[in-house]
Symmetry: D2
Subunit: 337 residues, 4 copies
Amino acid sequence: MLIVLRPDVTAAQQEALEQLIRSRGLVPHAIPGVARTAIGITGNPGALDPEPYRDLPGVADAIAVSQPYKLVSREWKPDQTVVMVRGVPIGGPRVIVMAGPCSVESREQVHEAGRGVSRAGARMLRGGAFKPRTSPYEFQGLKEEGLRLLAEVRAETGLPIVTEVKDTATLPAVAEVADLLQIGARNMQNFSLLEAVGDLRIPVLLKRGMSATLKELLMAAEYIVSRGNPNVILCERGIRTFETMTRNTFDINAIPMLKERSHLPVIADPSHGVGVRSAVGPVAKAAIAAGADGVIIEVHPRPSEALSDGAQSLDIAQFTELMAGLSKIAEAVGRSL
Amino acid sequence: MLIVLRPDVTAAQQEALEQLIRSRGLVPHAIPGVARTAIGITGNPGALDPEPYRDLPGVADAIAVSQPYKLVSREWKPDQTVVMVRGVPIGGPRVIVMAGPCSVESREQVHEAGRGVSRAGARMLRGGAFKPRTSPYEFQGLKEEGLRLLAEVRAETGLPIVTEVKDTATLPAVAEVADLLQIGARNMQNFSLLEAVGDLRIPVLLKRGMSATLKELLMAAEYIVSRGNPNVILCERGIRTFETMTRNTFDINAIPMLKERSHLPVIADPSHGVGVRSAVGPVAKAAIAAGADGVIIEVHPRPSEALSDGAQSLDIAQFTELMAGLSKIAEAVGRSL
Amino acid sequence: MLIVLRPDVTAAQQEALEQLIRSRGLVPHAIPGVARTAIGITGNPGALDPEPYRDLPGVADAIAVSQPYKLVSREWKPDQTVVMVRGVPIGGPRVIVMAGPCSVESREQVHEAGRGVSRAGARMLRGGAFKPRTSPYEFQGLKEEGLRLLAEVRAETGLPIVTEVKDTATLPAVAEVADLLQIGARNMQNFSLLEAVGDLRIPVLLKRGMSATLKELLMAAEYIVSRGNPNVILCERGIRTFETMTRNTFDINAIPMLKERSHLPVIADPSHGVGVRSAVGPVAKAAIAAGADGVIIEVHPRPSEALSDGAQSLDIAQFTELMAGLSKIAEAVGRSL
Amino acid sequence: MLIVLRPDVTAAQQEALEQLIRSRGLVPHAIPGVARTAIGITGNPGALDPEPYRDLPGVADAIAVSQPYKLVSREWKPDQTVVMVRGVPIGGPRVIVMAGPCSVESREQVHEAGRGVSRAGARMLRGGAFKPRTSPYEFQGLKEEGLRLLAEVRAETGLPIVTEVKDTATLPAVAEVADLLQIGARNMQNFSLLEAVGDLRIPVLLKRGMSATLKELLMAAEYIVSRGNPNVILCERGIRTFETMTRNTFDINAIPMLKERSHLPVIADPSHGVGVRSAVGPVAKAAIAAGADGVIIEVHPRPSEALSDGAQSLDIAQFTELMAGLSKIAEAVGRSL
């Protein structure tokens, strides 16, 4: 069971509550967040009844743990959450397109990409500076230099930046530049990193792990929100299955299921979701038709020269053409780009 | 390697060809089809060069087996195939909606469903008479009586019928009534059944197996087409993954990948693909946005009373509302319902 | 719910029972088997209470359908089943090794294989005559000629034969020769074939489908046993996962789980389970260590020349060496080869 | 391509080499390790020929990147690696059993467990102090207090300790106590953590990710070894599949495949691999039969009271009985406990 304390709880009230819990043979665990503190209870043989705890002094709510996530659920907050990213609302009536290269590779490349996607109507710029790579021998990004280049392009185009943070050590550097912090699929259950971004107020784009269930994705989001950062955007990016013709299997079901279960915005990454250039557009359209609040698409000025993910990147012309198609789908579901 | 014989090949030409193959230490296997015969060659240690076989008398083509499917591929036939089902074209500019109950349960139920989906704009009626069931103790369909009821509704509404054929023994009975023969997911690699429907000319709706790769689906279609029945429609219906919040994982990637690799029409089954009523509509829209030539949707007058698949069936009102949404998506991709 | 009738039930008793069911607004479905008949009940909104049916005239038992399999379960029959295959007991204290080529390719090949595996201590000969193949252009077996060759080798070596039956059409031919009828993975849910072998008394080796859950495997076995054929042997042969270094993922967990849930013998197919020659031996040992009642192994006199599955076949020398290793493992778990 | 520098390379040699690479239009990336530095090359359109680089001053080797792992491969080092953990050799002729509770919960519990498994013949003690948990509301371990208790039990029993390190922040605390640092499945691709343990010399137990391929596991190990820590032990702990009767699917194939491809020791975690108490023993036996160098088993004095993983924990009596069975299997494959 989880006891959520009121923001104005006193130290004495909290101490009294923990005493009470211990006196019943249970173990209290304080879970401090920036906005509020909660007390988890363990040591109970079966389910606990939350009723007797709800009216105690300093207590905001008591939650049965049979619900493994709560703060991110629609039951808890029926209204759709809109996350503001440097003035761009995500989760509102407009469908947001984020685009840019997988990795920042050079000043020329990222400027060219930024200008191109901006002209085509993208609302945010994506680009990786710190790249987690499967092999230690692969290109791992331009790091701080990459962040500086992204900031340059933002200054020029006005596009907010989404970029990946791969560990707590480089979080301060990334957080200084990023408007939206991306947690990659491999880090979806890096709980220390989740807690660290939960202690900030910068919006977080949380990608689903390669074999994470939707319930696990929601629990990962709960880690962030329960620390006090409510600005979480969920991202479906394809799961690992037996199919080998595509890089991943984009789980289109995830879009309506997550929208129904959670009030958080949901965006789609069709580039990783299918991993085949010619199919990125159709999958992006599908995601918007299914209710996604946005899409994030890999675009490179010259995909054949890309240091990573070239096979799934669109060039500027292909992206520009796709934008027209996405716009029509958005209108068909009562929204706009 | 596969040698495709000309329709006018003579017995003497075929015999001479088989002799030649044997004289090279290889084994010829005649693969008779209704429209044409092919000769498969085995016993070769590595890849064979098809060139020397192409100009022999009676030979239409020689195909390297490194391509495990051929007749269904876009390379072989770049033009999109349109399959005519009792006057309804599948694979053309119009997106076709097939709808009706999982199982035919009673005269009243199937008439009510038929009238309802017809009024809402469906172009075909689905309904199961012979039901393959995981447990021997589950309802296995009304069988011949079910087929009769489907024919009644067709007579009333004019909607062509798609219904499942579960084995070769009941194929004659089903083929007498069905306008489109459905091969279910569990039978995708029931090669004897594939060959049997390949010897007919009735259109076939071939559902992807629960853990079949797209390549395997195309090879299963090749079984049917290579027997002489070119009227095959592919159907994505969700694959089995680790996710448990949904019944299956609808593989949206399959739509553009199949359309690119094959000239056959591709339709989507969102009902089985997600298995959760509230998500059927969004997934159906997604499939059309991604390029599907049609969708097949489970509709029941009273889903809560359904003998099978109630949790994923829409009622008539829900289906009618969905049709308006599907129509808008079809227009957004330059098609119509 | 399922009502199992007594073997001596009279037509009048059965009719009265069906009347009673209908009078309660439910639908009776007779499920005839060779040994006994059952009546399935559908049309009930929720779970039915079996109690009121148990004492009716002609009724042997009433079974709540919440248990999707029953006759194959340990609860129903706590004693381990031993299936006799032409004098070879499967499920008893001795671990049975079945070996031979994937496909029967020639007289010389199958005789050489048969003699070799017999000398090495195998107790049964495996070999495919009718081969289901993913592509229509692959070698599909020697068919009737293959069966004749298997019978020749049995006459010479005394080894009983296990061979695959791929459809109901060829079942009579296969059943005339086979001592153990193999149902392949792709046919695990070919219910018509399951029913057909359920109407015989020849032992059946039922392979798990490529993506079948253990529960579904048990329900498939229930199809056979509920028709009156109790001689079913379950076979784990690897499932389909994301891993690409091996052909399948052998599910070692399946061995203890099936042995615990069911009284039927369980054997392992390490050849398909891993699909890499060097790993077949270790996986075979693992299966016996985990409690398997036998293993079935692909052995070919010259694997490099095999028309199918060469990469996973052992040669005679490798198999002979492996037998010594298997024998030690069998002894370590208190059994013998 | 990867250029491995000699330990005695001079700064001038390294600079000259990087100049040469740039002069060819390529980009050098220094990858510093404790024991040696390597230079990765990117920016090449196709595969590079390593030959011209091998004889340059200061170069130890040049490696084509088509091999995504190298230092951990059998080709690189044919001899089996034996990792010494506080005097206990892992990878040698003796099969090592590690046992203990999932989480350290109290002094009494961990002492009781430690004494029990020691008496039964375990060679190492496992126990979690810092616990990564899927939900933020679950028990997350006794942390530093847990480490102190483990050290107490080591002092009493002499058993070396294996315990999980969940992030770089707590690595120093864990490294002070642990004899073998466990990287959990969720952290297999937490590259920052891999690099951090790669900079130490404490042995590392690297668990396979829930949906990691064997190739990815080997690349994760390469991260550690390429930083200079050669003391890596691979651990198969079950993968995520569609099967729901068990917690995971233990990939028995992984044991022989990893042993063949890599010189690193391989151990098995049957507790997580199957997640069902009654099946832990059979799967442990299977792993040893397949060639595992050890097993790690969850044992709790009173599993029904465990705060985590109770359903898969053995009690002391069950573990003691299992040890006798494991010993027989070890002997059957020519080893001993």
